[in-house]
């Protein structure tokens, strides 16, 4: 299990590095897909196979592909252009400080101990029961949010019906009729 975790962690970190450093945005999206597969592997080693499958289905199959569509529809004129060195150094400094602070917190924290649990408590069956039982409200709210997001996305990207009232000659109505 430890070897699986190490492989998944390396894959996710390599993909994330690719996603963050590639100047070409298309390569960055592929890097994100690799990172998400690695994260799904990490989920699998953390005893959550259902979440891992959902991660691959929704993230890699849905979000990454939608991003590819967006990249291709908004073709940037010079995709190879890099950000300025100063900007990247500043961002690396902030992110590095954040990492060091977080690592110090993790190494000094006392997390305590958990409960002893039966094997059934981990199972997919329990997740399904809770999703439609205890947490039914979250589940239903999420579906409504997703529906609204899809409708909203369509409304946002929809091309407005062009009504060139002032550019069309006045007698065009009679010609059309």
């Amino acid at each position: 299990m430890s070897l699986h975790f190490a492989i998944a962690a390396v894959v996710s970190l390599a993909g994330a590095l690719l996603a963050v450093t590639q100047a070409n945005i298309l390569h960055a999206v592929f890097g994100l897909a690799i990172a998400l597969v690695g994260v799904a592997g990490v989920f699998f080693t953390l005893n959550s196979p259902f979440v891992a499958i959902m991660e691959v289905l929704i993230y890699v199959g849905g979000i990454a592909v939608t991003m590819l569509f967006a990249v291709m529809l908004s073709s940037v004129s010079n995709p190879k252009e890099r950000e300025s060195v100063r900007r990247r150094l500043l961002a690396a400094l902030v992110a590095g400080l954040f990492f060091v602070g977080g690592a110090l917190l993790i190494s000094h924290a006392d997390f305590g101990a958990g409960k002893q649990l039966t094997a059934e408590a981990w199972g997919l069956e329990q997740v399904g029961r809770d999703l439609l039982g205890r947490f039914n409200l979250a589940f239903e709210t999420l579906s409504v949010v997703l529906l609204l997001a899809i409708v909203g996305a369509i409304v946002i990207v929809r091309k407005e019906p062009t009504m060139p009232a002032d550019t069309v000659p006045a007698d065009s109505d009679e010609e059309a009729a």
Binding site: S12, A19, S48, G102, K115, A138
Partner: protein, 109 residues
């Protein structure tokens, strides 16, 4: 494979996402950074759930909800990016300064 190691992996992913959000100019690259940060948070949820469990199903459901919200967020964000690209022919955040006060009168875009 320990709790600290898993949290460290989440921290690394979050830092990389933070770097992407701060350093990149392309809006889609910034969105990629945000997705990385959300995944780092998901790893932390499941790590705590695995190593110090109290109610194993809860963290999995939290992560499922976060994944769903990320999907909704990505859909809306990409729609806004496409709309911006159509109107301004650019997905560069430095070009998005329509509300900036200085030189608003002589906007040459």
């Amino acid at each position: 494979m320990t709790l600290e190691g898993t949290l460290l992996l989440g921290l690394m992913l979050f830092s990389l996402g933070l770097y992407a959000v701060l350093a990149r100019r392309n809006l889609i690259a910034i969105l990629i950074g945000i997705e990385l940060m959300l995944n780092a948070a998901n790893i932390n949820f499941l790590a705590f759930n695995y190593f110090i469990p109290t109610d194993p199903a809860v963290a999995q459901i939290i992560v499922l909800v976060v994944i769903g919200l990320a999907a909704a967020e990505a859909a809306i964000a990409l729609a806004i990016i496409l709309k911006l690209y159509r109107q301004r022919s650019s997905v560069d955040v430095d070009a998005m300064q329509l509300l900036k006060s200085t030189g608003a009168e002589t906007d040459d875009e």
